[in-house]
Amino acid sequence: MSQHQPKEAWGGQWRAPVLFAIMAALLVFEGLSNGWNGALGIINMGLISAILALGVNVQWGYAGLFNVGVVGFVALGGLAPVLIAMPPTPGAFKAGGLGVLLALAVAIVTLGLAVWINKTQAKRIRLIAIPAALIAGFFAYRALLDPAVAMIEAINPSATGYLGGLGWPTLIAWPVGALMAAAAAWAIGKTALGLRSDYLAIATLGIGEIIVSVLRNEEWLGRGVMNVNGIPRPWPVPYEIDLQNDPGFVERMASFGLDPVTGSTILVKLLYTGLFAVILLALIWASEMALKSPWGRMMRAIRDNEISAAAMGKHVTKRHLQIFILGSAVCGLAGAMMITLDGQMTPSSYNPLRYTFLIWVMVIVGGSGNNWGSVLGGVLIWYLWIKAEAWGPDMMEFVTAQMSEGSLKQHLIDSAAHMRLLTMGLILLLVLRFSPRGLLPEK
């Protein structure tokens, strides 16, 4: 993307191992000074952040696509554990499930019909037929959906009031989350790609907001702001309480000199860490192989010069659509993993600052176009984000220590939380300006 050939980054081939070693040392220090429970918590979310950053890096680093709706794809992926792993609500499907499915079928048929009219009919007919089909379809959809939703939400609203899931193993929900995000990305990419680059950014901004507001408001689907709690854990991860009731486990922990409560929480977190690390490594392997393949060379050729790639007979828009779907699917996967880790779905927590902007900072700081860079950026920025929560107020206390007590001092101390955002914005702008290739530059 830059005009001139940049200089070799400091450190050469040792740069990546050294930076990863520093990151590991920071995490070990965190474990030794503040306890391993918290450190493992940071590592687990750091790994999920790394997967998210990997997904965004596929879009930005490989193809130069700017996705401002990461939060939407994460949220959509997060819906998958609810729909797959939660037990079905007794009677809900019988009461309204068929109605909801019919309504969704009507919606899909309507859209298909509109597309068919648009493709086959003359312009005169199109002008009348498309709006007519869409309006009729919309009313049919509402007429089917509304009564079904009322029935479902009436079932024990304080505890369920939603369709529930299928009761399948949670691990299945992860690829399903990726597929759901991929489907949304297909719809957006199909409309916004091939136009000027800003349009994709604006369209993804819109879809992000809409997915989150659907999750907030459609109570039959995921209980909306009432949240879904107690999402089952994935296969190898046990519950702490079961471990603590297991005499064999208590004995083994005693032989390590650990009490069973600490031991069980650490073991659970370690199992999550292992699970996430396996997925992260598999994704990195897959994307490294893809990047080295002829397909990856074509992608980079398109990114570096769309016009000449098109002149060589490459279908730029189709390739962009492909990569946009792949990247969004990875974001959906990470969203599903995150909801599994939390064990609950809280739609009101999907905040674009946290799930779009922070991920972008991770990708840019780590080094766009470099998969290992995204991993480093993901873990490092997440670590800083968590630590800054504690450092911010401390720093503000220090800065204002000499000031006399008063409303200004109080205001400054209260504002420490906003400083965290300001700092992240500043880091993004500084890296973009002075070191656009990030910590681990693309080779």
Binding site: A201, I202, M419, L429
Partner: protein, 335 residues
């Protein structure tokens, strides 16, 4: 009589609110479209520029109120508005100098500048929160109504009331004045003409001796004035909450794209189309239907979409424009 009542209800719940909201969107979209036409990128920081300008205006308003200054029946915020505009203009000019000018010089790809503007957006967002906090702030003072519901009922004898809030009238009048001034500036003054020339063809404009840095600076100042005014009018009409202005970004972009990015007239038309569709689709039509078709008694509220989904309306319009007419209604720049 029922038809009159229905008309009054439509005016009360749709025509007036949508005209006011449409004026606010149009002012916002004008700023976006000017930046796009001259600086050639979609400015994601525009919503937060509006929030910053409004925050400064509110703080000056508080200062004026504390000194006992008032603007008679009009809100004090209108007196504070020029200060807000000046502060916002200083902020965006500084941002341009520190951030954007570099990317213009290296002729960075538009998508990189869009990303930079997202970074600026978050810094401005944090700055606004730092200045004024995250609470909901109501800063409208002066007379609340031009006509109250009771006055209207006494005047006409209709069952349906038609209160007219002063903030709505102020919004519409201010927007009309500002749009008129802007078009006079763009079409009649030398600077305005040079801006349009720059927007049409940068190279030709440079060849004919137009000073680019002057054009850029004037554009930022106008954008700051439009953003602050739009933000203050929106805040007077509803209330001020920093995060709401971020959410305004989608309808504003939809308005600008619907009208054709880079086309000022289109931005105004787009703003009103978006506002009327948004309010029309999320309004519960039951009352109007009751007047017009007394025999028809629906169970529901006759609301097409719940108000939580108002952004879906802008989004659907945006997608339709991208699918069928990416240049917008009034030929804007597309590729």
């Amino acid at each position: 009589m029922d038809i009159l009542n229905a008309l009054v209800a439509i005016t009360n719940y749709i025509l007036i609110p949508a005209t006011a909201y449409g004026s606010q969107l149009a002012l916002g979209a004008l700023g976006v479209t000017l930046i796009y036409g001259i600086l050639r990128f979609s400015n994601f920081a525009h919503g937060d520029t509006m929030a910053f300008g409004t925050a400064i205006t509110i703080m000056v308003t508080w200062g004026l109120q504390a000194m006992g200054v008032s603007f008679g029946p009009l809100p004090t915020a209108l007196l504070a508005l020029p200060v807000g505009i000046a502060a916002t203009a200083v902020l965006v000019l500084a941002t341009d100098k520190l951030v954007y000018s570099y990317y213009r010089r290296v002729r960075a790809a538009p998508v990189v500048i869009v990303m930079v503007s997202v970074g600026v957006m978050f810094m401005m967002n944090a700055l606004t929160r730092f200045l004024i906090g995250v609470d909901d702030i109501n800063f409208a003072d002066g007379a609340r109504f031009v006509i109250t519901a009771r006055e209207f009922r006494d005047m006409t004898g209709l069952a349906e009331p038609l209160p007219i809030r002063s903030s709505q009238i102020i919004t519409i009048v201010m927007a009309a004045l500002i749009v008129a001034a802007l078009f006079w500036f763009l079409n009649r003054t030398r600077t305005g003409k040079s801006m349009r020339a720059f927007s049409d063809n940068e190279d030709l404009a440079l060849l004919s001796g137009i000073n680019p840095s002057r054009v850029v600076a004037v554009t930022w100042i106008i954008a700051a004035a439009l953003a602050t005014t739009a933000g203050v009018l929106y805040g007077l009409d509803k209330s001020f909450k920093a995060f709401n202005y971020f959410h305004l970004l989608l309808p504003i972009f939809a308005s600008a794209i619907l009208g054709g990015l880079g086309n000022p007239l289109g931005a105004i038309a787009g703003g009103f189309v978006i506002a009327f569709s948004e309010i029309g689709v999320t309004y519960a039509w039951k009352k109007v239907a009751g007047y017009l078709l007394p025999a028809f008694e629906p169970d529901g509220l006759l609301q097409l979409l719940s108000t939580e989904y108002k952004f879906a309306v802008s989004f659907v319009i945006l997608i339709a424009v991208l699918l069928f007419k990416p240049t917008g209604l009034f030929k804007g720049k597309s590729v």
